[in-house]
Each structure stands twice: as C-alpha cells, then as structure tokens.
C-alpha cells in the first residue's frame, strides 16, 4: 500500500507553533499574547490536517516534513479540537494563572498531547505521554506537595506503557497483533492510572482538588488513555487482548457507577467536579469497549462533548475561585448567580451538556453508548443509565453550591463574565448546542474511525473460532 502524505506540513507547523509558544511565553513579560497566538495558529494547522483527512476519507496521511507524525480519522479530529481547547484555556486563564511558567507549562501539555495524537510510532507516542507529565513533575505551576499521589499515578502510567512497548517490540501504533497477556495487562494499567479508573481514581481527584485546575483540565481532556484503547481496538487483536479489554469495560462501568455514588458525600466544588468528570469519562471507555458500532460512535462523540463541557466547567470554577476565595471550600451555598448570572448560565449549560441533556452533543453520545452497551448486556446499559441519573443530581448539587442560596455577606461585588471570558465560553456553548442539534455532522467526522474499528473487530471475530 503506497504511503500517502498531507499536501502541506500541517502537523509540523502546529507542533512547531506550540513549541515556539512555549519558548516565547517563557521569555515574554506578557505571556498570554504569544501563547494565544501560538495556540491559534496551531488550531488552524490542525484544522487543515483534519479537513484533509476527512476529505480523503481513509487511511493515514503522513506529514511531508516529519514522517514520524501522521494523522488518521481517529486522531485528526481530536487534534484540531484539542488545539481549540488549548486556545480556550489560554484565553480564560485568570491573570494569576497566566504567568510565564504556567503558560509555558500549559503549552507543553498541549504540545505533548498533540505529539501523542500525531505519533506514527510507539516511541513518539511514548515521548508525548511522558512529556505531558513533565510540567507537573517540574513544578511549573508552583510547588505541589499535596499532589504526590496524582503525579505518582501519572508516572506509573508512563512506566506501564513504556514496559508494554518494550515487551511488545512493535514499531507502529496500531500494530498490536503480536502482544501477549502481559502487554495488554500493562496497557490497561497505563490507561487505568491515566484516566483514574476505579480504584485508582484518587489520583485524578487529588489533581483536581489540590493541583492547578486549568493545566489539569488540559492534561485529562487529552484522553490519551482512550486514544490508546481506540488504537488497540482498531488493530486485529489476539484473544488475550479481547479478554483484557472486556475486563477494562467492566471496570469502566463499575468506576462510573461507584464514583457517582461517592460524589453524594462530597461538598467541595473541586472534588465534586472531579468525581463528575471521572464518572462521565468512564462512559467513553465503556462505549469503546462495547465493541459495536453504536457504542464506539457514542464514545467518540462523547469524547468531544465531555472535553468541551468539562473544560468549560473547570474554567468557570477557576474563574470563580479567583473572584471568591471561599469558593474552594464553601461552608454554605455561595449564591453567586445574583452577582454573576452569565457565569451561572454558562456553567449550567456546560454542566447539562456534560450529563446529556437533550439538545446538547453529549445526549447523542450517551444515547449511543447506552444502546451499544445495552446490546452487549442489559445490566451494563442500565447501570450506565443509573450512573447518568446520579451524575445529573450531583451536577445540580454543584451548581447549587456555587450559584444558588444566600449570597455570603463578605462577597460585596464581583464581576460577571468579562468579555475575554465571555467569547470562549460562548463558543464552547455554541459547539455543545449546535453539535446537539445537528449531531449528524460530528458523527460523520468519526464515521471513518468507527468503520476501521468495526472492521478490525469483525476480522478478529472471524479469526476466533479457527484458533
């Protein structure tokens, strides 16, 4: 099969822009401007790559300058989408989070995630995986004594993936056909540590609670764990791998349900948000591991919806923390909707989009995941339905804590959404709502990947009786 290339070096341009953004924001007195510019150019580049991949409609397109990078239907759309999220976070970051070290750190996370997306080989993917943890390990967002567990689990995921690659001796991403039980065990461990699958969820919760919120949003919304699972599903896997992914599917469902229950006993906004995020993120794994068209399509759509909605929520929570210091651990309801009605509305829309209100993109994603999992086993589908109900209740609790109730006397005056904050949040809401009203377009973006995964699953299923 001949190797096909992108018409322009979109991937190299995007990655170089991000790297340039890291350097220039590190040196600049006003780091937000170069960081935003780099993120914007990277977004345009990755968008170009995504458009070309969708137009071609099949296979992988390598970058003409750096052939160690490629874009296919699975990662091209998330690349462009993630670049947009980076731009949103850079724009929304409050002044105190927009220092030169922090901006450079956020761009490093973005760069690392894009490297992992664009990786054509395991070595490149591994380097992206490791690099995304580096800003936290180096303390680029301030000294983080209290997030040792979170950093430890991130490093454990890196080590597990490195060991899996070392054991497997494969070169290209997506070629997992000669992996054994140990390989897939290690891959699943890496995914569990990275995504905070139960019982390893406390790392993500701690990162949300004690860590820098905006970089954490960028780190986890890369969904590198899901990318790895999707890559694995898209290759013809041996029987041992199929069993391993079945276990991961069960763990994802259990994780989603247990964490949603755990959240009922929580009142701190950051922790509540973390539980909501981890529980909803487990839906993606459950959908992909369902191994049918509905489940996989739902998971890939929910990936985008969850990333947009959770980034919006996290940014709003951070913006509120800067305005009202007591919002980190409120003793009572904060009643901020009176002073910041637009932030409250943005929060509510993003939140309802997170839990799958009809008319938002995640409704379509969740609906397909439910159908996919229900087709495999009714109990799994119903468990996810229950989880979704619990998450909805927790979301309204979180909204109530932050925005409803009596405004505390010490909160005299706080600004509502500033213009700098209003436009990115509006863009996020428009994406979630328009995506929900016209989900066919987004499903179309992901159709190629779904077909590739389905084809691989079909080949594996056909091969199974012969063994």
């Amino acid at each position: 099969m001949p190797v096909e290339y992108l018409t322009l070096p979109y991937l190299t341009t995007g990655l170089v822009c991000l790297l340039g953004g890291v350097v220039s924001s590190w040196r600049s007195g006003q780091p937000r401007k170069p960081a935003a510019l780099a993120a914007a150019i990277a977004f345009v580049s990755f968008l170009g790559a995504a458009r070309e991949v969708i137009a071609v409609g099949h296979g992988r397109l390598f970058d003409p300058l750096l052939p160690c990078f490629d874009a296919d239907a699975l990662d091209a759309v998330p690349m462009a989408f993630y670049a947009a999220l980076t731009l949103m976070v850079v724009e929304l970051a409050p002044k105190r989070d927009a220092g030169h070290r922090a901006m450079a750190g956020m761009l490093i996370i973005s760069l690392a995630t894009q490297i992992a997306y664009a990786a054509a080989g395991w070595t490149t993917l591994l380097s992206g995986w490791w690099l995304s943890c580096l800003p936290f390990v180096l303390g680029m967002f301030g000294v983080q004594h209290s997030t040792k567990l979170a950093i430890g689990l991130l490093l454990a995921s890196c080590l597990a993936l490195t060991a899996a690659v070392a054991v497997m001796h494969a070169e290209t991403v997506g070629n997992l056909s000669h992996g054994g039980s140990l390989t897939f065990g290690l891959i699943i461990l890496a995914v569990m540590c990275r995504k905070g699958v139960f019982p390893l969820h406390s790392g993500v919760v701690q990162a949300f609670e004690k860590g820098p919120l905006l970089p954490v949003a960028l780190l986890f919304n890369g969904h590198l764990g899901v990318l790895l699972v999707a890559h694995s599903e898209a290759s013809v896997l041996p029987q041992s791998a199929r069993q391993a992914f079945d276990i991961l599917s069960v763990l994802a469902v259990v994780s989603a349900c247990i964490i949603s229950i755990r959240a009922f006993a929580e009142t701190k906004p950051r922790r509540l948000l973390a539980f909501l995020y981890v529980s909803q993120a487990s839906f993606i794994l459950a959908g992909i591991a369902a191994a049918n068209i509905a489940g996989i399509t739902g998971a890939l759509v929910h990936w985008l919806a969850l990333s947009a909605a959770s980034t919006g929520l996290i940014c709003i929570v951070r913006v509120l923390e800067v305005r009202v210091s007591s919002s980190e651990n409120p003793l009572v309801h904060l009643g901020l909707a009176v002073k910041a009605p637009r932030l409250a509305t943005f929060f509510l829309i993003c939140g309802l989009a997170l839990i799958g209100l009809p008319g938002t993109l995640s409704y379509c994603g969740e609906e397909l995941i439910f159908h996919g999992t229900l087709a495999n086993h009714p109990a799994v589908g119903i468990t996810l339905l229950v989880t979704s109900a619990f998450n909805a209740i927790n979301l309204i609790r979180l909204y109530g804590i932050l925005f409803l109730g009596v405004l505390p006397k010490h909160v005299i005056d706080i600004p509502d959404a500033l213009p700098r904050e209003r436009w990115p949040l509006t863009a996020c809401v428009v994406f979630l709502v328009l995506g929900g009203l016209f989900p066919g377009i987004i499903i179309g973006w992901r159709a190629e990947t779904v077909q590739a995964i389905e084809k691989a699953l079909g080949v594996a299923a056909a091969a199974m009786p012969q063994r």
């Binding site: 406390s202 007591s326 909707a337 009596v406 509006t426």
Partner: protein
C-alpha cells in the same frame, strides 16, 4: 400552508425564540420588560392561531391523525433517532391547552413579576417549557417524547429554584430534580428496552390504528415490563405513587410557574403518557392493576393531606395530586375519553385556582360577605362516617403528610449517603504538608480583574 409545515412550525417557534433571547443575553445584550412582554404576547397569539388552523383543517378533512416524518435526527448503523411528529385526537386538545394556558400565564406574569430581577429568566424558561411541552404532546415516538420530557423537567426545576437567594427553594429544587431523574430512569430504560426487544419505540411501530382505537402490536412478558416501566415514569412526572412527595416542594416557585407547571401542563404529562400507551397498558393485567392502585392510593393520600394543609399552594398541590390520581384510575379502567375531559377540565380549573392563590383570602371574604356571612365549612360529611379513633389516626397521618419525607430520608437517602462515605476508603489520605487555610467568612471579596 400545509399541515406538514404547520406542526413543526408550531413546535419550533418557542424553541427558536428561547435560543434567540438566550444568545442575545449571553453576549451581553439587554431586552427590556416591555419588549419581552410584547414578543411573548405576539408569539402566543401566533401559536394559538396555528393550533386553531390545524384543528379546523383536521376537522374539515375529517382526519383522525396527522403524522409528520422529518427523517432521522442522527443515524448509526441500523439505529436511527426518528424525528416524527403526531397530531391526533389525543394530542390536539393537549397542544391547544398548552398554548392557551402558557399564553394566559405569560400575560398574568407580566404584571405579577414586574420589576422582579428574574423577569427575563422567567420568560426565557417559560418559552423553553412551552417548546418542551409541545414536543411531549406531539412526539411521534418515545425517543422524541423523552427529549421534551427532559426539557420540561429541567425548566420545572429551574423555576422551583427561581428565588435562588432563599435556601428553601434551592433545597426543594434539588429534591424535585432528584425525584425527576430517578423517575426518568424508568422512562429511559423503557425506551432502550423497547429498541432492544422490538427494534422500535415509535407510536407507529408499536401501535396499529388511530388513537383511541389503536391496538398494541407486540406480545409477551417484554411488553409487560415496558408497560410497568412507563407506568412508573408517568407516576414520577405526575407526582403519583412512590414519587408523590415532590409536588408540594415544587410550590416554592413563583405562582405563575406553579400554575402552568403543577396545575396545568407539566403535572399532566404523566397522564398523557399513560393515555398514549393505553393499548400497551391494557395488554398487561399487572400494568393496569398497578396504574389503578397507584392512582387510587395517591388520590386517597392526597385528599387527606389537602384537607389538613395550612398553606394555600400546598393544599392546591395535594388537591391536584388527588385529581390526577383519579385520572390515572380512569385510564386504568379504560375510560379514556372521560380521562381526557377530566384532564383538560382539571388543568383549566387548577390554573385559575393557582393564579388566584395569592388573593385567596380576599376572595373568600368577598364570597362570604356576598353570601351574607352564611358560608359554612364543607367537607366534614364523609369524615363523620368513620369511628373517632380512625378519624384521629387519619388526621395525624395527614398532618405528617403520610410521613413520606421521613421514609425517604431514612430508607433511601441515609443508606446512599452511608455508602458514599464508606467509599472514601479508596482515597488514601496523606499527612498534610502545611495546614490548610480554613474558609474565612471575614475576608471581604473585592472586584478582581
């Protein structure tokens, strides 16, 4: 204009208005009270006109039903989300009722909420609610009905918490939302199982013929399971049976919202669902018995509590619950035409009562004076037939509102919270590096950039 265009136009109009007003406001725009009230009046008159034209067209052409297929919302492999709308002898009266009552309540609210800080929010939510309710009553499938159902639910909760600066509405809104979500679980499960077992959740796929003489196509235990699930879902929306505790809590919202949601439209959505799936219900003895049992027990409980409630709106809420319980029983017995008449009549009367609730005492005194001071208390005839010990027991039971809240708190909420706290064992705690700053209530927050 053909009917195929009128029906989508009718439903889309309030939805588009909501989106437009919401976007203007989010981007920093301001819409005055006068502009909102005028736009709302024009829209409601327009909607009423559309319904009248639709009714006339159907009557002139002698059409029993009109199905509008708008294709699929999204399609993946064999599964497609059907966008089909249905207007028939059941949905047309309810659509008409929704448009008229929403218009009346909107008109009432212009004065009632004049200069209220939440004026804009109220009308925004009212338009979203109208869109959701119209979608519920015209949906051609369970899938699409769920969409409207959820929109009605969330607008209802947001209006219960309308006075967001008071703790009680916030607490009650959360309780109502939790109840809604748990009840919606039954609905969603029914939809998914219906697709899973029968490959369809559309009315056309499930029933043959036009309402009320339609027949259910499928058979067996699966049909019973779906019927029972839908009966519970309807109970949740209409505050019946195991979900009967939320309606009085919902009275925390402004009076116009109580009227349109809990007197008129939202609370009857459950009864509408049962009427729509009535052939499915009657296919199963279990489901029919369940609906009758839920309806009659709730009616009994509701009428007792209604008589002992001290506040006007809670009393009206329990009265509404009683009547809806009777409507459930009528549906269970198969008296569908009576149930529809009862439903529409009850919605109209209850809206009037809710809207007059703020001046109820004044009304009573006026009627009392007009009767020459001879107005005697009513309702003591049936009680006198019971032994006094039973009377006292029932009175205490009604005063405690059936001890519903205590039961829910003790047997549902407490175990869940205990489990949630126990699950913290999976989150290791490390010794603190430095003492955490306690949340301070003394620091004055100032504007920040």
């Amino acid at each position: 204009m053909p009917l195929q265009t009128l029906i989508p136009l009718l439903i889309a109009t309030p939805g588009v208005l909501f989106l437009m007003l919401g976007t203007i406001w989010l981007l920093g725009g301001h819409v005055s009270e006068r502009a909102i009230s005028r736009i709302s009046k024009v829209i409601h008159v327009f909607l009423a006109l559309l319904v009248a034209i639709m009714g006339r067209e159907m009557w002139q052409r002698n059409m029993a039903s009109m199905n509008v297929a708008l294709g699929d919302w999204f399609t993946v492999a064999e599964y497609g989300f059907p966008l089909s709308l249905l207007i028939d002898k059941l949905s047309l009266p309810l659509v008409g009722m929704t448009v008229v009552l929403a218009g009346i309540v909107g008109s009432f609210s212009v004065r009632y909420l004049h200069r209220d800080p939440g004026f804009f929010r109220f009308f925004l939510l009212l338009h979203l609610f109208t869109f959701g309710a119209l979608l519920v009553f015209t949906a051609g499938s369970l899938d699409l009905l769920v969409v409207g159902w959820e929109i009605v639910g969330i607008t209802s909760v947001l209006l219960i918490g309308f006075f967001q600066y008071r703790p009680d509405p916030v607490r009650n809104a959360l309780r109502v939302f939790a109840t809604y979500r748990l009840a919606d679980l039954f609905m969603l499960t029914a939809v998914f199982l219906s697709h899973h077992w029968f490959g369809t959740a559309s009315w056309a796929g499930m029933f043959s013929g036009d309402w009320p003489s339609s027949a259910y196509k499928f058979d067996g235990a699966a049909a019973t399971v779906i019927a029972v699930l839908l009966a519970f879902a309807a109970s949740g929306k209409s505050s019946q049976g195991p979900f009967c505790g939320w309606l009085p809590r919902a009275m925390e919202g402004p009076t116009p919202s109580s009227a349109v949601f809990y007197g008129a439209i939202s609370v009857h959505a459950g009864a509408y669902l049962l009427l729509r799936v009535e052939p499915l219900l009657h296919h199963s003895v279990i489901a029919t018995s369940l609906v009758i049992f839920i309806g009659l027990t709730t009616a009994f409980l509701g009428t007792l509590i209604h008589r002992t409630s001290a506040d006007a709106k809670a009393s009206l809420a329990y009265a509404a619950q009683t009547q809806i319980g009777l409507i459930f029983a009528e549906i269970g017995f198969g008296w569908t035409t009576l149930a529809v008449i009862h439903l529409v009549g009850h919605a109209m009367l209850r809206t009037l009562q809710f809207l007059r609730a703020p001046s109820m005492l004044r009304d009573y005194h006026r009627v009392h004076a007009a009767a020459g001071g001879k107005l005697s208390p009513t309702g003591s005839h049936y009680e006198s037939l019971l032994p006094s010990a039973v009377q006292i027991w029932l009175y205490r039971w009604a005063l405690g509102r059936g001890f519903y809240d205590s039961i829910v708190e003790r047997w549902v909420m407490a175990p869940v919270l205990t489990l949630a706290r126990w699950l913290a064992i999976f989150e290791p705690k490390f010794p603190r590096q430095q003492p955490e700053a306690e949340p301070s209530a003394k620091v004055v927050e100032t504007p920040v950039s």
